[in-house]
Subunit: 311 residues, 2 copies
């Protein structure tokens, strides 16, 4: 795989990322499963394996890797295997959030990534425990892989702090709570944005920041990538809301129409479908503009991808 | 507070630990709450605060501190405040396990540490999320406090790995699952020990290992403290099972007789009360024997304390 020339935003950079990097991410995830799962209690091994082995889009590791390359300047085939495994830590945290989101006491969903949800297969208690097992695994992956990725103790400390902050009460799990509250009472545009900033945005931005920190980013690049991540996260979520309305369970791999069923506020419910589409487009453009000082055809292409995707 | 003379196992070392260290641990926890809670979403701040502010025995931080001093040789009043906050990370993880253990889909309990359980006050979803928020907070506390405790990046990496391993699927959350399975099918002595090694033992041993690593332990001391922790953990759990039979909700601060109600295998159910008492005593002696090369009146006294305590 060769590096796309700067300025080539026509899909070739995206193609390289999706077709070249995604299989490497899957391989890295397989390596992590092979390393961490055998020592698990048998009855926990299966549900954890089940949750990790479904084929997701792997957007977060791809963001990590794109940010890493944007900063470190390596073409994909020069990136060390340990960096790919490091990139998977954030996917493991994301998987954890999906397992818990789908639980009966949360969104109570039956279908995820095209298969029955973990609690539908293994029961509620097991799903809760399997989800909870994923965060410590993710942190251990990070600590374990940092040296192989050329990162010293200080840099690793930054990574761990970043990951836990994004997964914690001011990030993902905080967002889950705001989301639940949003089901109970009417939510306006500002509150909706706050929910998504925490619930989806925190992990997407963390993926970029973790990749950038691993690649040795300076403060300016880190700041630019955070702004890119913030806008991208909102674009991503608006697109998700639109897909929930116009998509089918088959293409989505999860139950369609779930937001309306749960009376959740969503971008289409607040702005209409066309309004939501323009808003997604505007956020994607905002994301691209934030990259001004960073040459990354991949990140430019990803901003378009998240609003144009079909699942 | 002065340091107890080696050999004084008559309770003065324990008195110093409980009366001197416990208030410092409470103060450190207050500092952590003051630092981490204000930035939380309002609706998450209260349940997290509620879970952390109940007065527990704080056994795990006390073990951390005793191991730290056994290795580093400082008297209590020379131990840096950052070390006390570091010691609280494990208490935060322990609190997380209590919140989730009490959930309706787990042990479904109403009373904990003398107060209604988190889900009884705030509802099931909120309790699940508040519990999940505690692990990332604990890791962040560790990363944040390590430099002030004089620990560099490599040592901190060891701490984070140790904490997450103990909290994860081969430790605490793995033990929760084994525990649930034990309610569903008959459990013999070996399986019961495996459950408690994972569910209770992993965090108690981790408390000692974290304290020892923070204090700069060599491999031999770390090994001795691990063996001490393993035996102490079992002694602690046997005593817990006995208290569940002979104690009252008032003295325990949690529902008594819960094991029998849930048809859980317990040491008294497998060995009878007297048999369980001898077994607890034997494990406490085993713990003390493991300390052969380490001079720590506190740890010796703690081994007696865990089997003689009344709650």
């Amino acid at each position: 795989m060769t590096r796309s020339a700067p300025g080539s935003q026509d899909g070739s950079a995206l193609h390289a990322l999706l077709e070249g990097d995604r299989p490497r991410v899957e391989r890295a995830l397989d390596e992590i499963r092979a390393r961490f799962l055998p020592e698990l209690p048998t009855s926990l091994r299966d549900p954890v394996d089940y949750s990790l082995s479904t084929s997701g889009k792997r957007v977060r590791p791809l963001l990590f890797l794109a940010a890493y390359r944007a900063v470190a300047g390596h073409p994909a085939d020069e990136v060390a295997p340990a960096v790919y495994r490091l990139a998977c830590a954030i996917e493991i945290v994301h998987t954890y959030s999906l397992v818990h989101d789908d639980l009966p006491c949360m969104d109570d969903d039956d279908l995820r990534r095209g298969r029955p949800t973990v609690h539908r297969v293994y029961g509620e208690s097991v799903a809760m425990i399997a989800g909870a097992a994923l965060l410590p695994i993710a942190v251990q992956v990070m600590v374990h892989e940092a040296p192989g990725a050329g990162l010293g103790g200080q840099r690793m400390a930054l990574l761990v702090r970043e990951l836990c902050r994004a997964a914690g009460p001011v990030g993902m799990v905080g967002g889950q709570l705001l989301d639940l509250e949003g089901e109970a009472s009417p939510v306006g545009p500002e509150a909706l944005e706050a929910i998504h900033r925490a619930k989806t945005g925190a992990l997407l931005t963390a993926a970029l920041r973790l990749g950038a920190i691993s690649g040795g980013a300076d403060a300016d690049s880190l700041d630019a990538l955070s702004r890119y991540g913030d806008a991208l996260g909102l674009a991503f979520q608006i697109a998700d809301d639109i897909l929930d309305v116009v998509g089918s369970a088959e293409s989505l791999g999860k139950t369609a129409g779930r937001d309306e069923e749960l009376s959740k506020a969503s971008y289409p419910s607040l702005y209409g479908l066309d309004g939501a589409r323009s808003l997604a487009r505007a956020r994607a453009d905002e994301a691209k503009a934030a990259l001004a000082g960073i040459s990354s055809p991949e990140l430019l292409a990803l901003a378009d991808y998240v609003v144009n995707r079909e699942r």
